[in-house]
């Protein structure tokens, strides 16, 4: 009798345990990802899918410390020119190919040499990759590169199956094979991406779902409605203006993290003929624009205070933020004085291109109204994305509202924008001292030394203002109250280890 009873209880528990694991997770995305090849992809939203599909050499903690993932340990040579990594034992890719040092060599080679690779600049500093033994890999660098480890925590560090990559070549993204907790099952463009649990995953015990379905639902209201109707289990990028109503719904929980990215206005200071505009030629006018806007009010009006006001490439919460230059209070009189001093007592006019999405248009209309009070007349030109991009890189603009999704290493938020030869320096700002400081910060492996270089560069940029930084988005996730164990990360990714869904 008692044995029977015990058996029954055990059975019940067993069934309970199985049903807890026999689960599908449905995640609502804001956009449809682009090609699913870590070496070729370029969108933020694609990285959310990779977080479940492709493991990286290293990962980050919510505090941006680098922690092991596929690499269990690493150390730098004293000159900062050699990085040796120890790899996790017993890891296989979804197709059964073993993960080892040879696989890392093949992956770095692919990132560096596949003509279509978008990762080239991220792994540029590596001059040689060598398999020391099966589980040890050594990277040789041309010059010290403090950013490399952080690159390995993102797409450049994602390991794809060399077998599959060789077989599929450039078409790898149609059927991606990695080593993450979930394997690719199917994709219907604009509809869904389905991943299913990879049973041989090295950390399979921490994974509680049999499958994950990513559904792109661009409309924020509809995305939230799907969650409330129970057609989704969680969603990313809840609109800041929906936070109040989502909080009021007892069946939902919210999680948030300040992003690594920023939004601002780039001013053309040296990119072709259009740089010959008052703001482009005169840093004092750019400072006036910066003083004319109330960043806290922008945050309140457009984002109901959910985002973070900002004035630097790093959010005020970042350890890299220069505390000597806090987010300035609005000062219309000072802005007017700067205008008068610069010879524009009657004000100045400037055209600003704005990406045609409702939120950016709203932000820029707020800026427009504020700037007008200081005598800076802004004409807005709504521009669709492809045109905006082409105009910016060709210098066919005077000022442009822009954003950057952000990188783990501070270098990613500043170097390529502010150095003379920076790849995306659309403003064509050029200052030898800033170049020197940012190059130095890149090659120094000592955090204090890097910080002092960034502080010095930011001090100069606060005077020169090629980009007027406005705010830092905050990632907001809405989850069903049945979800447990979700941890928000500042990179905006959804990591499913130890996340579960109760019945």
């Amino acid at each position: 009798m008692s044995i029977k009873k015990t058996l029954g209880v055990a059975l019940a528990l067993g069934i309970g345990a199985t049903s807890l694991h026999a689960q599908d997770l449905r995640i609502g995305l804001q956009e449809d990802p682009d090609v699913l090849d870590p070496d070729q992809s370029r969108t933020f939203v694609g990285r959310i899918v990779y977080a479940s599909l492709c493991d990286k050499l290293v990962d980050i903690t919510p505090n941006l410390e680098i922690v092991p993932q596929l690499a269990t340990g690493w150390n730098w040579s004293d000159d900062g020119l050699e990085l040796t990594m120890t790899l996790r034992d017993g890891v296989t890719f979804h197709d059964g190919t073993p993960f080892n040092a040879e696989a890392v060599v093949a992956n770095i080679d692919r990132s560096q040499n596949m003509p279509e690779s978008r990762r080239k600049s991220e792994v540029k500093s590596i001059t040689a990759t060598e398999a020391v033994d099966d589980l040890t890999v050594k990277f040789t660098l041309g010059a010290p590169d403090a950013t490399l480890i952080a690159q390995f925590a993102d797409r450049a560090g994602m390991m794809v199956s060399p077998t599959a990559a060789t077989a599929a070549g450039v078409d790898f993204g149609l059927n991606p094979v990695c080593s993450g907790p979930f394997a690719f099952k199917e994709r219907i463009q604009q509809d869904r991406i389905v991943l299913e649990k990879f049973n041989a995953y090295w950390n399979a015990d921490a994974i509680n779902f049999d499958s994950v379905v990513f559904q792109p639902i661009p409309d924020t209201t509809v995305r939230l409605a799907n969650l409330r109707a129970g057609d989704l289990d969680m969603l990313e990028r809840l609109a800041a203006t929906d936070v109040t109503s989502a909080k009021a719904d007892a069946s939902l929980q919210l999680e948030q993290a300040t992003s690594l990215g920023y939004q601002g206005i780039t001013i053309n200071v040296g990119n072709g003929e259009r740089a010959a505009n008052p703001l482009g030629e005169n840093a004092a006018l750019r400072r006036a624009l910066s003083l004319a806007v109330d960043r806290e009010v922008i945050n309140q009006v457009v984002f109901e205070g959910a985002f973070a006001a900002g004035n630097q490439p790093f959010p005020p919460t970042s350890p890299w933020y220069n505390d000597a230059y806090p987010v300035p209070a609005r000062d219309v009189e000072a802005a007017k004085a700067l205008l008068a001093e610069a010879g524009y007592p009657d004000g100045v006019a400037i055209e600003v291109q704005v990406a045609n999405n409702p939120v950016q248009t709203q932000v820029m209309q707020v800026v427009q109204a504020m700037a007008a009070e200081a005598g800076i007349k802004i004409d807005l030109a709504a521009t669709e994305f492809a045109t905006l991009l082409a105009d910016q890189s060709a210098g066919v603009y005077t000022a442009s509202q822009i954003g950057w999704s952000g990188r783990v290493d501070p270098d990613g938020n500043i170097h390529q924008f502010m150095t003379t030869s920076g790849g995306i320096n659309d403003s064509k700002y050029s200052n030898p001292e800033v170049d020197r400081l940012l190059d130095a910060a890149r090659s120094a492996n000592d955090t204090t030394e890097r910080k002092s270089n960034y502080d010095a560069a930011i001090a100069i940029l606060q005077q020169d203002v090629p980009i007027v930084y406005l705010y830092h988005p905050v990632w907001i996730w809405a989850l069903s109250d049945r979800m447990q164990g979700f941890t928000p990360y500042p990179d905006g990714m959804i990591r499913l280890e130890n996340v579960s869904l109760s019945e």
Binding site: R42, E116, I188, D191, A229, D231, E384, A390, S393
Partner: protein
């Protein structure tokens, strides 16, 4: 009729070629560079140049067009620059979705619009006429996104009757597929019903007051016979015109409604393709929509002939 159809279908081929040249040329005139979009946030110049060569975007435009045609006649419509999926696969994926939505919306539009129009014309000037007109014009003025979101909130979130959004293929689960598509089809259908209702009403009014209907009535012909033999037949010409055009537009994709209900049809695909300057995808879809509009025009012309054989001349 058969020779008419055969002739029209033959003419359709050069028309399609013309349309494709027209759209190809227009696309090339657009500002923006697909390779810049594809290059990603970092925009590495080396990658940009490679992609430009790879997709032969440095060739003169006529050469690019010739290359595209050369591949297209062999059944290769190229690949999407954005996702690298073959365009033909994309079309095969979206076509059933779009057709299902279009057909369901049209059925709703016809079953509401035409009876309401006939009734409204019969009861001209009465409260029935007023009500029908007010409802129709509200249907037209209410933006699809508003009706769509309201329906989702009411029917899916509060009542839990229908899935909030998405798409299920008919072959997977017939009823679920119809249920999922019901709200978007309703949103589209009601807006079209308004247009159909107004046209039906106007056409019926015209015919009912015409001399031959009066004559027929005076001769003592039964009301039903008057209606079928004379009134409706003649009233149908503008209705056929409008219906075929609307159906063509539905087949070209309903952008906003698809976006609200997250339906993976042509509308969303083409918007993304244009914004990303995904030329091959745009060309591929335009081929489809071109065929759809030509087919609808042929259908309309055939219908005119059936309704009024003398239009044959």
């Amino acid at each position: 009729m058969l020779t008419f159809l055969a002739r029209r279908i033959l003419i359709a081929i050069p028309t399609i070629v013309l349309i494709s040249i027209f759209v190809f040329g227009m696309q090339k005139l657009l500002p923006g560079d697909p390779v810049l979009v594809m290059a990603g946030e970092e925009r590495n110049p080396e990658v940009i140049e490679f992609l430009r060569e790879k997709y032969r975007l440095n060739d003169p435009i006529p050469v690019q067009y010739a290359t595209w045609v050369g591949n297209a006649v062999q059944g290769d419509l190229g690949i999407s620059l954005r996702t690298q999926q073959p365009v033909l696969d994309l079309i095969a994926e979206k076509l059933p979705v779009t057709i299902q939505l279009a057909v369901m919306a049209l059925i709703i539009a016809l079953t509401i619009g035409i009876p309401a129009g006939v009734l409204s014309a019969y009861k001209k000037g009465t409260w029935v006429d007023w009500l029908a007109n007010i409802v129709a014009l509200s249907g037209l003025s209410i933006p699809n996104f508003w009706l769509g979101i309201m329906l989702i909130l009411l029917v899916s979130v509060n009542l839990g009757w229908l899935p909030a959004s998405g798409y299920r293929p008919l072959a997977d689960d017939f009823w679920l597929s119809l249920k999922t598509m019901l709200m978007p089809a309703f949103v589209l259908g009601t807006a079209l019903a308004a247009t159909l209702m107004r046209h039906t009403r106007s056409a019926m009014l015209g015919v009912l007051q015409s001399d031959y209907v009066r004559t027929a009535r005076a001769k003592g012909m039964s009301e039903n016979k008057v209606l079928v033999k004379h009134a409706l037949r003649n009233a149908l010409v503008p209705i056929v015109t409008v219906t075929t055009l609307l159906f063509g537009e539905l087949l070209a994709g309903a952008v906003l409604t698809e976006q609200i209900f997250t339906i993976p049809g042509f509308g969303k695909l083409i918007v993304d393709a244009v914004f990303n300057r995904d030329y091959a995808v745009v060309q591929g879809i335009v081929l489809c929509t071109g065929v759809a509009f030509i087919a609808m025009n042929i259908l309309a012309d055939a219908a005119y002939r059936i309704l009024n054989p003398r239009m044959n001349e």
